[in-house]
């Protein structure tokens, strides 16, 4: 008679607002993180087991390039969101003054650029 109404599970909750959708996309970048790791492992396998040429051919397949372009976008999205959210867990206080989030974020992104540059240098420097 006076029972409260309990709404059933909303299966499409992630489509109810743009921000929910972005959240889900952010989480789904993890699939491409896993993919990227798998791809790199394939390459390592080719390097250590001999078959590098075969790997290079596989990597050149258009569908493979397409997948990797998506993976690039996903990992970049992951990097941006993850590095932006980091200051939430780490509140840095100097002498009672709270270091503003943008500074920490800025530091994170600079680190990202730096690491990327180093990696690129190691891979590409002429043998």
């Amino acid at each position: 008679m006076t029972a409260p109404y309990v709404r059933g599970r909303d299966r499409l909750w992630f489509a109810r607002s743009r921000r929910y959708t972005i959240f889900v996309l952010r989480e789904l970048t993890s699939v491409f993180v896993a993919w990227t790791v798998a791809y790199l492992l394939l390459m390592i396998a080719a390097l250590t087991g001999g078959g590098y040429a075969g790997f290079v051919a596989l990597a050149g397949q258009p569908w493979m390039i397409a997948v990797n372009v998506v993976a690039l976008a996903a990992t970049c999205f992951h990097a941006i969101t993850f590095l932006n959210l980091a200051p939430k867990a780490t509140v840095v206080r100097l002498d009672g003054w709270r270091v503003p989030a943008w500074m920490i974020q800025g530091g994170n992104h600079s680190a990202w650029l730096l690491v990327s540059a180093v990696v690129a240098y190691v891979v590409l420097r002429s043998p």
Binding site: E27, V33, Y39, I44, T48, V56, A59, L72, V115, P127
Partner: protein, 113 residues
């Protein structure tokens, strides 16, 4: 039991998130996009194998693989449960996800030694 594990899983997830953020984009960019498209030349196998030679590099690589996969496993576990409403199957899902991550790390170790 898993209650006690949660903080450790989260640390691995967070560490993996940072590593993935710092390293993966540049790696896919180089090996997945620019080289296959011919914008850059593929380095020689010898050069790459040489780069993998030092022990610290191999240890680091295994760690990177493990952390990134843990990161992915953690998110995939939670997202699949939230997206598909599978929270009641948390235990098997967790086993599959984290098991997969461990497996991947093992493969990496095996390949590099």
């Amino acid at each position: 039991m898993r209650r006690v594990l949660e903080p450790y899983l989260w640390l691995l997830f967070s560490g993996g998130g940072v590593v993935a953020a710092l390293l993966l984009p540049v790696l896919v960019l180089l090996f997945g996009v620019l080289m296959p498209l011919g914008v850059l030349d593929w380095p020689s196998a010898a050069h790459l194998a040489g780069a993998l030679e030092p022990l610290p590099v191999r240890v680091a690589l295994v760690a990177v693989v493990a952390l990134c996969l843990f990161h992915a496993a953690h998110r995939i576990r939670h997202t699949s449960e939230e997206l598909l409403g599978l929270a009641r199957f948390d235990l098997p899902i967790a086993v599959v996800c984290y098991g997969g991550a461990l497996g991947g790390a093992a493969v990496a170790a095996w390949l590099l030694w």
